[in-house]
Structures are given as C-alpha cells and as structure tokens.
Amino acid sequence: MSERPLPRRGLERLDLLLLAIEALDLHGSEAMLWCCDQLGLSGQFPDRVTLWRSRCRNPLRRASRRGQLGTDEARALITLACTLAQRVYPLLRQLVSSREPADLTAQRWALFRDRFSDLVRERFNVRRGAVRQLLDDREGEALRRAIVESLLLSAGPGGAARLEASLRDAQR
C-alpha cells in the first residue's frame, strides 16, 4: 500500500466512520481509548487529546487542524476503525438486514440518524456544503447508509486493507 498521506476525501471519510461508531455505541469514545491500548496503539494515541488532534485533520471539522495525517497515524486510525466496527458489527448488521422487521429497522435508523446528526452538528463546520449534505434529510440518508455499509464490510482485521484502499481512491 502507498506510503503517501491520505487524500483529503479519505481523511473526511475516516473521521466520519469513527463518528458513526460513536453514534452507534454510546461508549464509543471510551471504547476507542480502550481499543488503542489493546491494539498496542498507545504510542500513537496515548490519550484522548492526541486522538482528538489526529481526527481534527479532517477539514470538515469545526476546529480543523492544518496539515496532513502521517501514514503511521492514518494506519493506526484505520486499524482502530476496523476493530471498533467489528465490536459494533451486530448493530451494523441489524441496520442493513432485510430479514429484520421493517418498523424496527426504521426505528433503528431514526435513532442512528439523530445521534449521528447531533454529533455532526456538534463537531463539524455546518457551513460546509459536504456537512450540509450529511444533515440533509434526502441526501443524508444515502450517505449514512454508505457509511454504515463501509463499516460493515471493513469490520475485522481483514477489512483494514480494503478500507485503506478505499480511503486512497483516486490516488493511484
């Protein structure tokens, strides 16, 4: 895989995937720190602030930091996202399964939409077009579904290479 820094789009998507995990798991931010410790990523992310500063490389953030994310840091965040996706795999699966009762699925999506939108409004710059798209009722639905499917299909250790390749799209 390339040693070049993640492109801007990739940074945005990676942060959105982590945000979706936080929307699904009420203890998502605590789980991130615990996972960093378990995965041996404490060197890159020793505390909450360091992790937050890495995620703030996302240009869509309200408090965005200039500059690019280092390759090692980006790989660590990708590993973290895939591990956390594995943790919330049953919840992700319920959202996209056609075997679940339709009304229950609709309620789950509504809950996810509300929590996700709250987090986006709280942390992202809502004046940006891409953020407004996320919060839009019609366009946002397809984007949220794409985020959930991406997490579902990159869950676990096997998904890290797929997710990294996807985050580097158009960078060949």
Binding site: Q94, V96, S97, S98, S154, G158
Partner: protein, 225 residues
C-alpha cells in the same frame, strides 16, 4: 445474533481428515481436507495440524442454498466476492466475475445478485439475492479463512487497490461541478475587459520625458571633456 469466529477442527493422527468451520449469523463455510505433510517435512508436527489439501468445501448462505466445490471454485468465489466488496466500500459496486471464475456478483435493487455456475453440464446457474448483511457475513467468513493460521492452502486474495477517479461515483452532477470554474472564468474575463477600457495615463509634455532624454547627453559631455 452473530456468532463470531465459531471455528473448530476435527484432526487426529497423521493423515486424519481435517474440518474447519467459519461461521456467522447467515453464512457458514466448512472446509474438508487433509494435512499436507510433504509440503514442509521439517515441521511435520505443525503440518499435521494445518489443512494443506482441500478435498471439498461447503458454503451455506442465509438458509437459501448450500454451495459445494473444490479449490479452484473457492479461489473464484474469494476473488469475485472480495473484489465486489472492495468496490462496494467505495460506493461504486459493479458487476464482478464471470463464467471463467464460475461466480458472478452484481448490484440488484435492495441487494446483491450472486450467480454460481455449476461445473456439471446442463445444470442451470444458481442465483441468490443477498442483502448487505448476508454479504457482510460471507465476507467475514472468507476473511476468517484467509487469516486462519491452520490453513495452508494456495489461496490468493485479490489485491486491495484504490479505484481510479473515473470509477468513483460523482457526488454532484456535471452542470453543478462546472458552475464554479465557469463563473470564475467569466468573472476573470469581465474584469479583464473592464480594465482594458480604462485609458492609459499619457506623459505630459515638458515634464519627465525631456529630462530623461537630456541626462545622457549631459553625461556624455562630461566624459568627453
């Protein structure tokens, strides 16, 4: 709910058949085979615990069907499904596979159409519509199999590569994407046209110009002396 990594093996003394199972909520992959002790004679004890010869495999998907095959069929399934999933993560799913690999998969309204061609003559292909949850379960089973150290099969997963720009979905229609650069070019042209209409300042006679002409001659006179 999801049963994570429910694997087991039935192994025994030298040459005893091995069975490995990779299971999720709606997908179950069973591999049947034998250890290949000839592959690495120096570590024969390890080789006896590793599945090196695949006699057959079975895949049950979503209580819809059970597929069976040999190693080349499993390689085909692996290539096609993981390539499709890689594209799906980028929100750019496209038809993958073909009759050569005996497996095809393509997006279908509300799901993914998996077509499996039988190697038996006059047998129609099996078509299954999977939802994203079933596809994810199948992917998890394949990932578990690839990462299992007890498997010594020559299976090669497809390389995960970034997609070229032309394959990516456009977030905005062409007219919308061209709007900003067109407006920028138009405003540049308009500004240039307005600036060209402003008259250039002309030098006033008797101020500035004569002095610049006179200076060299004065210097010339000095040096000549």
């Amino acid at each position: 709910m999801t049963q994570f990594s429910s694997l087991f093996s039935l192994g025994g003394p030298t040459g005893a058949p091995l069975r490995l199972r990779f299971e999720q909520s709606s997908a179950r992959l069973d591999l049947f085979g034998l250890p290949d002790v000839t592959r690495d004679p120096e570590s024969a004890a390890d080789s006896q615990q590793r599945l090196g010869i695949l006699t057959r495999w079975e895949l049950a998907i979503g209580q819809q069907a059970t597929l069976e095959g040999r190693l080349d069929h499993l390689q085909g399934l692996l290539e096609v499904v993981l390539t499709y999933v890689r594209r799906l993560i980028s929100s750019s799913p496209r038809h993958c596979g073909g009759e050569a690999q005996r497996v095809e998969i393509e997006p279908r309204e509300g799901g993914h159409l998996l077509t499996v061609h039988s190697s038996q003559p006059d047998t129609p292909p099996l078509r299954l519509v999977l939802d994203s949850a079933e596809l994810a379960d199948l992917t998890q089973c394949l990932d578990q199999m690839l990462n299992d150290p007890r498997i010594a099969l020559p299976l090669v997963p497809p390389a995960a590569r970034p997609l070229p720009r032309r394959d990516l979905p456009r977030s905005a229609p062409l007219a919308q994407r061209l709007l900003a650069p067109t407006a920028a070019a138009a405003s540049l042209l308009a500004t240039a046209a307005l600036v060209s209409l402003v008259p250039l300042p002309r030098p006033e006679p008797g101020r500035g110009a004569p002095s610049t002409v006179a200076a060299p001659s004065a210097r010339g006179a000095t040096t000549g002396r």
